[in-house]
């Protein structure tokens, strides 16, 4: 495998950034989407944001990614208040977000090219490295429509990793691939993350996925969304999906998350 990215990074350079939300509030007209969201994620942590569909967790991710402003409160990435997309972050999108007119190679190179990530040779080296890492070698010259959904999302992941972000934002990245591919991608993501430990904020509505991947799960309630619980996941690493699923903690954590999500649902039912 050669050197990992963490080793390759110059000594002393932080390769993971902390994230902090202070009383974040967001409205869409009359609709209160995010209410008093407050948490802090230490540098290098893998945090999943778990919530029912349409609860506002994607809005939260877009706010951290600087794609949408907040109406109150503030968001800090690496200790700095953000105003627009923070240069430390890269996003992996739910619908992959690949340019259909670019080859897999050019898609992976996109972030580096527009951010001016070094000379042409340096870019090429890095792009090859990350294409290799997500097992897309041999498909560099294919177009997105010529490869499967799973492979498209590998390219989306490689594009984000290639800019070597200190914060990786992932918006339900595996929601639109089939279950078997998803499990493979989980294990690959675990392998990649466990080597270089960038900060990850992972949006999902799958309890299992959250447990398998994260150090900590933020459970969100529905409308207005707020973090109702932060559940640490004390499962040792390195992890693999099938091993994690067999552990007694897995079932316990699953129950806890279900209860918390259920309570949110019950409150919702009581209000209406």
């Amino acid at each position: 495998m050669g050197s990992t990215v963490a080793e390759a990074a110059p000594p002393g350079r932080a390769h993971a950034a902390s994230v902090e939300c202070r009383n974040v509030e967001k409205w869409f007209g009359e609709l209160n989407v995010l209410a008093d969201v407050a948490f802090s994620i230490p540098a290098g942590a893998f945090v999943s944001v778990l919530g029912p569909s349409g609860c506002g967790k994607t809005t939260l991710m877009r706010a951290i990614g600087g794609l949408t402003g907040v109406d109150d409160g503030e968001i800090l990435v690496g200790g700095r208040r953000i105003d627009g997309p923070p240069p430390e972050a890269a996003i992996v999108f739910q619908q992959f977000g690949l340019m259909p007119w670019k080859t897999i190679y050019d898609n992976v190179a996109f972030g580096l090219t527009v951010r001016g990530g070094g000379s042409k040779r340096e870019i090429e080296e890095r792009v090859r490295h990350y294409i290799d890492l997500v097992h897309l070698s041999g498909f560099e010259h294919s177009y997105p429509y010529q490869v499967s959904g799973g492979m498209q999302q590998r390219a989306g992941l490689a594009r984000a990793l290639a800019v070597e972000p200190q914060l990786l934002l992932m918006d339900e990245p595996f929601a639109s691939v089939d279950a078997m591919t998803r499990e493979i991608l989980h294990d690959e993501l675990l392998g990649i993350w466990e080597r270089d430990r960038r900060t990850v904020v992972f949006i999902t509505h799958s309890i299992d996925e959250a447990i398998v991947l994260s150090d900590e799960i933020f459970v969100m309630s529905r409308s207005p969304a707020t973090v109702v619980a932060q559940i640490p996941v004390d499962i040792p690493r390195p992890r693999r999906e099938r091993t994690v699923r067999g552990l007694p903690q897995f079932a316990e954590l699953r129950e806890r998350c279900w209860d918390l999500l259920d309570r949110g649902g019950a409150e919702e039912a009581a209000r209406s």
Binding site: G65, G66, L67, P85, P87, A89, A90, I91, F93, Q95, G97, M99, P100, W101, K102, F110, G111, V114, R115, Y143, P144, Y145, V163
Partner: protein
């Protein structure tokens, strides 16, 4: 995909090969049928034409043999070649000017709301106007020379290009614009990497429409302005009742149209292979 024993694998390979062969044969049969139908349809058409064309007054109609003879005469004395070059020159200039003006203008139009409000009404009104109605006016303004012809062709070609490019730049996937934004793209880079490429299939479709309209413009311009080009050949032969000679430029324009539309259609497929596959995305 691995079969258990070597024997089974060989049997599988043989079946696969036989299947491939069967599909190839079926395709070939289909091609043979298609071409025999096409050729016989053409033969029947020419036969009827020949029979009917020879039996009526030669002022009204001409059989294929006479048209072929006229074609040879007009080619060998250079008349057809000269006319074709004259027509293609004004066509090329008019189309070229339309492309150069329409694409940048449409991009500005799509980008700036104020420009949109200012010009959208006029563009739509002019696109809806049968432009033939403006030809006498254009002749009044620009005379009978090459300039007038180029401007007439330009005015026929420019609107489909304008409108298609505008639509293309407007219908860009907002998700992809967001991707660009998330990687810190400037406005200019967003245009280069996202908006322009996603407008390319629309521009190619606009080019296809524009070519068809520009050909109409070319013939009309040559009917009404100074004596040159294929359009004039049609008029000149018609006025002197040389019907066989009249058919020659008509058939050449027809062939030119088929050729140019084929080129732009191929171009559209080539520049945006993904847009043919949209359903699979």
């Amino acid at each position: 995909m691995t079969a258990g024993t070597p024997e089974l694998r060989i049997a599988g390979d043989e079946k696969r090969a036989a299947n491939r062969e069967r599909i190839r044969m079926a395709r070939r049969r289909r091609r043979v049928t298609m071409w025999s139908v096409r050729v016989s349809s053409l033969a029947i058409l020419l036969g009827i034409w020949q029979w009917y064309g020879s039996s009526v007054n030669p002022i009204l109609f001409a059989p294929p043999t006479k048209i072929a003879r006229a074609f040879v005469t007009l080619t060998s004395d250079g008349t057809l070649g000269t006319a074709l070059v004259q027509s293609l020159t004004v066509f090329g200039l008019g189309m070229g000017a339309a492309v150069v003006v329409a694409i940048p203008l449409a991009l500005v139009w799509a980008r700036y709301q104020l420009v949109d409000w200012a010009i959208q009404g006029y563009v739509n009104a002019l696109y809806a106007t049968p432009l033939v109605a403006l030809v006498p006016l254009l002749i009044l303004w620009f005379g009978f020379g090459v300039q007038a012809k180029v401007i007439i062709i330009f005015s026929f070609a420019v609107f489909p290009l304008l409108i298609n490019t505008y639509q293309g730049a407007r219908s860009v996937d907002p998700g992809l614009v967001e991707v660009a934004e998330s990687f810190g793209c400037s406005e200019l880079k967003t245009w280069r990497h996202v908006i322009l490429p996603s407008a390319v299939p629309f521009i190619a479709a606009g080019l296809n429409l524009a070519v068809g309209r520009a050909l109409v413009g070319m013939i009309i311009a040559e009917f009404y302005t100074s004596a040159s080009g294929l359009g004039y050949m049609v008029i000149a032969a018609g006025n002197t009742f040389q019907t066989a000679k009249m058919f020659v430029p008509i058939l050449v324009v027809m062939a030119l149209g088929v050729f140019l539309l084929g080129v732009t259609r191929t171009l559209k497929r080539k520049v945006s292979p993904w847009s043919e596959q949209e359903g699979r995305l």
